[in-house]
């Protein structure tokens, strides 16, 4: 399948007809959402927490340049090297430069959406550096040669049988479909990689300006190992990940795990301030790459800049009626679902992702679930308006809406127009809306309009 945003329609049709995919998706999504309700509802002040998180993010994004400078200053003092990358090419080249300098042959990667965004793993492999995903879900997706289908549950589109088959084919082990055994196979395989890696690459969930810290949240322990064993650690992250104070974490600790994996708290949190010093097992060098790659485009719009508050929990995807049916791959972007339909146009330019803002029912469920209260549905609406300005709408659609606009504002016109339409339908002339009626039966109109019934009853 061709996974690019402009193929959304074709991919959606194929995904909808894929019974297995829908079964896998439904299982994973309903499980997480029902557990989430449990761990969210036990907190008496959830709304308060969302509001606080929103405000911290808002404040930081409004003062982004200041906090990035502060982070850079403090982190540099700690002995961490900072590099600001304008786009993916700059970021990749910088990583390669470090890898070459230390003569790296094997790189272990922990989960990071930003590295997916810039295609880092493929780039390093093309340059002869073996690069292994160590998060179990990412490892599965890498073995399958696929893209993650969700930002926190990358392999949720796969069943245990599919994963068992994949492992026996690619790793040469005996087939099993037991999650425990499959996990163990991955542990053994990756343990060897950890111990021999010369380079560890991670993302970051938060950067703390006041202390210059890198914060990484995870469950498996792979991020802990990737950032401890190799001699050099590179953390790559978007510029929006910075927050002012260490104590701001208290809010995010409560909301992130609950939103991402329906957990009260994740198993591991690494807060990394400095390389070596007197720690016996720690990288000798730590680099942080602050990536822009279209993020400052969002800053230009009062409304769209909200998208930078995103903490990449993935909850809006799970709750989205469109995502629930078509899955992550259909969007053709690393960031799928509601927030992905805002972030992807910012990265690729709206022209290359025109369809995405329309892949939404605008029901607002994404906003309701979002732990940092991003008004995603409003952002999508704004992007739709921009898309129309770019000529996305056909002349016919524009004409229809112009007429609708005129008719709806004039009572007499409205009454006669609706009579006229009824008359047409009676004659058996049905409007041609093929993409809508291809899979559905056009509904019969009621013989009388509501207004007529109302009037008759009154008399």
């Amino acid at each position: 399948m061709n996974y690019i945003p402009s193929k959304f329609r074709n991919n959606a049709v194929k995904a909808l007809l894929n019974v297995n995919l829908r079964k896998n998706l439904t299982r994973a999504i309903s499980h997480t959402l029902s557990k989430r309700v449990e761990v969210v509802s036990e907190l008496p002040d959830w709304e308060n927490l969302r509001q606080k998180a929103h405000e911290i993010k808002k404040h930081t994004i409004e003062n982004l340049a200041y906090y990035l400078d502060l982070f850079e200053e403090r982190a540099t003092k700690n002995g961490v090297k900072i590099f600001r990358a304008k786009d993916s090419i700059e970021a990749k080249n910088y990583v390669l430069q470090i890898a070459r300098k230390i003569n790296a042959r094997l790189c272990v990667k922990s989960k990071s959406m930003v590295t997916e965004e810039i295609g880092l793993r493929e780039f390093l492999e093309e340059n002869g550096i073996e690069t292994v995903e160590t998060d179990l879900g990412e490892f599965i997706v890498q073995l399958a040669g696929e893209m993650p289908s969700h930002i926190t549950a990358p392999a949720m589109h796969k069943s245990r049988d599919e994963i068992g088959k994949l492992f026996s084919e690619k790793l040469g082990v005996k087939f099993t479909n037991e999650p425990e055994k499959l996990t163990n196979i991955a542990r053994e395989f990756l343990r060897h990689k950890f111990l021999n890696a010369d380079l560890g690459i991670s993302g970051a969930n938060f950067l703390i300006a006041e202390t210059g810290s890198i914060v990484i949240v995870e469950n498996e322990g792979n991020a802990g190992l990737s950032t401890t064993i190799p001699k050099v650690h590179i953390a790559i992250t978007g510029i929006e990940k910075v927050i002012p104070r260490l104590s701001d974490l208290t809010v995010f600790f409560k909301i992130l795990g609950r939103s991402a994996t329906a957990q009260r708290f994740t198993s591991y949190v690494s807060i990394i301030n400095s390389p070596k010093k007197n720690k016996p097992d720690s990288p000798e060098e730590i680099y942080v790459i602050l990536l822009d790659n279209g993020r400052t485009n969002l800053l230009k719009s009062e409304r769209l800049k909200q998208a930078l508050y995103c903490i990449k929990c993935g909850a809006c995807m799970l709750t989205c009626p469109v995502y629930q049916r078509v899955g992550g791959h259909t969007y053709g972007s690393i960031y799928p679902g509601p927030i992905g339909s805002v972030l992807t146009p910012a990265q690729l330019g709206l022209r290359d992702a025109l369809l995405l803002p329309f892949a939404s029912s605008l029901c607002g469920k994404c906003f309701e679930i979002c732990p940092v209260k991003i008004e995603i549905h409003h952002l999508l609406l704004q992007l739709r308006a921009q898309a129309v300005d770019l000529g996305f709408a056909s002349w016919l659609e524009k004409l229809i809406f112009k007429l609708w606009f005129i008719v709806m504002r004039n009572y007499k016109l409205y009454t006669s127009a609706s009579k006229f339409l009824r008359y047409l339908l009676k004659l058996g002339i049905k409007p041609k809306v093929k993409s809508w009626s291809k899979e559905r039966i056009f509904p019969e109109l009621a013989p009388k309009s509501f207004k007529e019934i109302w009037r008759n009853q009154k008399t």
Partner: protein, 186 residues
């Protein structure tokens, strides 16, 4: 006089509540909580060693009498000064201290410093943590006001290593320990 007793009592209760809250949360995420004493700690660890079939063990340096006690563990090899990460990966269990116990989430906080191998918290299948009651802290709010912000690095552990990446089935011990014990000396 009476109010003094009440005061002491309520302070004692607060302490108990903290421990109980921690225990509840820690057990809820799959940790094993054991209350012990200086006298009993060797027996308790020996028990774990038998149950978990531990042969080789890594023991972190403790700056107190625990150091002496742990020399008598019934295992075939005790490693205190690992020469490589590979060696840490080859042991069955590790015994370490910790710096804070956060009651609201059942989290054990380790500062990464001299004599502390972060990989010893992750590589072995079994992790045994020894702590005393001075380590308790009710919430992260309090924790972040308490700590010296000039730390090198911090590692927070809440239960064993886990995943739900295959059909949402929870599996423990992905890259880190499958089991974590907390021995509270009081």
């Amino acid at each position: 006089m009476k109010s003094n007793i009440a005061k002491i009592k309520s302070k004692y209760n607060a302490g108990m509540e903290l421990i109980e809250k921690f225990k509840f949360e820690f057990e809820r995420v799959g940790g094993v909580f054991i209350k012990t004493s200086h006298k009993k700690v060797l027996d308790d660890i020996s028990n774990i060693i038998t149950i978990e079939n531990v042969n080789q063990i890594f023991v972190e340096k403790f700056e107190n009498e625990i150091d002496e006690v742990l020399k008598n563990l019934p295992v075939s090899q005790i490693i205190t000064q690992p020469h490589s990460v590979e060696q840490l990966a080859s042991v069955d269990a590790s015994i370490t201290g910790c710096d804070f116990l956060i009651a609201e989430t059942g989290t054990i906080v380790f500062t990464h410093k001299e004599n502390r191998f972060k990989s010893s918290l992750l590589l072995p299948r079994i992790h045994i943590v020894i702590a005393d009651t001075k380590k308790f802290c009710p919430t992260f709010e309090e924790f972040f006001t308490k700590i010296d912000k000039n730390f090198d690095s911090i590692f927070m552990v809440t239960g064993p290593s886990r995943t739900a990446d295959i059909e949402k089935v929870i599996v423990l011990g992905v890259h880190g320990p499958q089991k974590i014990y907390l021995l509270l000396i009081s």
